[in-house]
């Protein structure tokens, strides 16, 4: 599928003519060397990325790594020194003022870290700002702004001024201002950075909820990995102006590309990142229609396990333990009579965190999709293994 936003070979050099600095970068010089040689600051160097329609693309990195520079290139607040950036088919790095204005008015809205609300306008006027700029009639834009304010839970505060609201509320106004113009793309530069942790958590949940209902393409900047993992469909990690790694939360935490990324992910609660599917083993179920208790016993002996799942007409029907199977075999009973349905199940998307309570039972956890089909099984010991992974790796490193 065609990406919604496509950045290709982007550079940004602050402080005058960029050609020499770019040549030096291409020759392999570092940010510091270039600063020493030319006095110029490298903001972003050779960055390429794709953002698919409807995803939350999170950019994270330490302070000064170029996140803000990158996101500001998307709506042309900063012109790249080199490279192109396509929104649908418009190259915002190289288009007329008129075209750029059109993109900003109709396609891309931005939410700012320090809110950047207009202090001389009421909350409702702030929310309607983008619409007013676009030239919409007063009555219509009042309606739309009100709807956006209601979306963020501030329907009753339209007549207040921003300085009468708390930080969390102000950021909601910022969000409403972005949503009111119904953009296809929402750029958010550390929007929750100035909020305290509790409100921050609420806002993250609300953003996910909004995302589910409105299906916007969101580029989200943060320097908090937990936030990145909680929100990101795709996460790009930046260091010194380059993207060190792009991937899903599991890819970033599970196989960090280098020490820099690994250092970020070290203190992460892995159980919040990994889904059950990541540690699932392929299921080898028996079929009620064709297999009997004896087959069950042989299968378990072959695989060295004490219980095996059984499906009926494609659907998970139950589990049979070795003891039950041998009893049934001895008494000449059907496999059906040896089944028990007292076993844990979970969806493949559920996080390891949610598997903890299930991992205490004697049976493996069955992963079933929404149609009730068995997609895999999780052995309790694998859960703890995966969570312990990181520490072991580190110990090994220390030994080496």
């Amino acid at each position: 599928m065609k990406p919604k936003i496509y950045g290709n070979g982007l550079y940004k050099i602050f402080g005058g003519d960029a050609t020499t600095a770019i040549d030096l970068l291409k020759a392999g010089q570092s940010k510091d060397e270039i600063y020493a040689a030319t006095g110029q600051t490298v903001g972003v160097r050779d960055v390429s990325f794709k953002v698919a329609e409807g995803e939350i693309f999170v950019v994270m990195g330490l302070s000064g790594s170029g996140k803000s520079t990158l996101v500001r290139m998307i709506n042309g607040l900063i012109k790249p020194s080199a490279g192109e950036i396509l929104i649908d088919d418009v190259n915002v790095a190289d288009c007329s003022d008129e075209q750029l204005r059109n993109v900003r008015r109709n396609k891309v809205a931005m939410v700012f870290q320090h809110f950047a609300l207009f202090p001389h306008k009421t909350v409702a006027e702030n929310a309607a700002f983008g619409l007013k700029i676009r030239g919409m009639k007063a009555s219509e834009r009042r309606e739309r702004a009100q709807a956006a304010l209601e979306q963020v839970g501030l329907g009753a505060r339209g007549d207040s001024y921003p300085d009468e609201l708390s930080g969390g509320m102000q950021q909601r106004v910022g969000l409403a201002r972005g949503l009111a113009s119904e953009p296809e793309i929402l750029l958010m530069d550390e929007p929750f950075g100035a909020l305290d942790p509790l409100i921050r958590n609420d806002m993250q949940q609300e953003l996910l909820e909004l995302q589910r209902t409105l299906k916007k393409t969101i580029v989200f900047i943060t320097h908090d990995l937990n936030e990145a993992l909680a929100l990101g469909t795709t996460i790009a990690i930046m260091r010194d102006g380059v993207i060190a790694q792009t991937g899903t939360a599991e890819e970033i935490v599970g196989s960090p590309a280098d020490d820099y990324v690994a250092a970020f992910t070290r203190d992460i609660d892995r159980s919040q990142v990994f889904a059950a599917a990541s540690i699932a083993r392929p299921a080898t179920p028996l079929d009620l229609a064709t297999d009997n208790a004896e087959v069950a016993m042989t299968r378990m002996e072959e695989l060295g396990i004490d219980a095996v799942h059984v499906v009926d007409d494609g659907k998970l029907a139950g589990i049979v333990s070795y003891r039950a199977a041998s009893a049934a075999h001895r008494d000449g009973l059907d496999l059906k009579d040896a089944l028990t349905d007292d076993f844990p199940t979970a969806s493949p998307e559920s996080l390891l965190n949610d598997l903890y309570p299930l991992a205490g039972t004697e049976y493996p956890i069955a992963l079933t999709d929404e149609k009730g089909q068995l997609t895999g099984i999780v052995h309790p010991q694998d859960v703890f293994q995966q969570l312990a992974n990181e520490e072991e790796e580190e110990e090994e490193k220390e030994k080496a």
Partner: protein
Amino acid sequence: MISPSDFLSLPFDDWVNIFVRDWLVPNFRPVFRAMQWPVTQVLNGLSTFFNATPMLIFTAVLSLIAWRTSGRGVAIFSLIALIFIDLIGLWPETMTTLAMVITAVFFCVVIGIPFGVMAARSDIFRTILRPILDVMQTIPSFVYLVPIVMLFGVGVVPGIIATIIFALPPIIRLTDLGIRNVREDLIEAATAFGATPWQMLVEVQFPLAMRTVMAGLNQTLMLALSMVVIAAMIGAGGLGLTVFTGLGRLDVGNATAGGVGIVLLAIILDRISQSLGEARAMRGPSLLATIRSLFSLRANKPPAEVERAG
């Protein structure tokens, strides 16, 4: 003692004479006459209006305005001051002076705000404008009365034009400063939503600069009042003339009465115009913050590299 003038003397005065009398005046007379026209219209309108308004009504209305904008104290002060002016027999002169001052301030606003906006938008324009404003403020006002008289003749309108020139700099400077001090992140936000330069000015920059612009207006008003006596020297009337003739005849009483009238008028206008700038609707940065940033303008200047397209 030897001095350079023993060897060379420059006929500077002749040069100026030739420039002004033989070139500027004959060639540009019509231009200067035309410039007087709008000033005359505004002045006549205001003057007729103020002189036709009965004293009691005028006093009541001005006190009411003072009360609404600046509170009870200023309102009571205005009431007493205006009655006092009437009692000492200077009411008509005060109205004339008020008409002159307001005319001058009106043109200062009409000229000064666009210049201030342009200066805020363009560093080049500002660099050119600055020394001109410095000169306008440092030349003693007596000095340019002469060319004014040569170009415009004598009378009330030339007096007002001298006043405009003298009182113009603060409003230009503070409009420029106010706009430049609008928070960078708000400019960025407006740009991000696709504002045109004009929308930026009307929606964001000017409203937020309003407080500072009003401070400039206040200063301009005060400077205009301070020109009242000097303008009287070239034929402007009103309280300035009372003081001026009083001085000429060594009539201390009359001169003092005129002076007191000017001071009272100045206090009333100062208070009212100051509180206009403090009004709630103008939620700009506080004046204190603005003045503080005036002294650290260099440090606050946004890095030249913050590019803004559109």
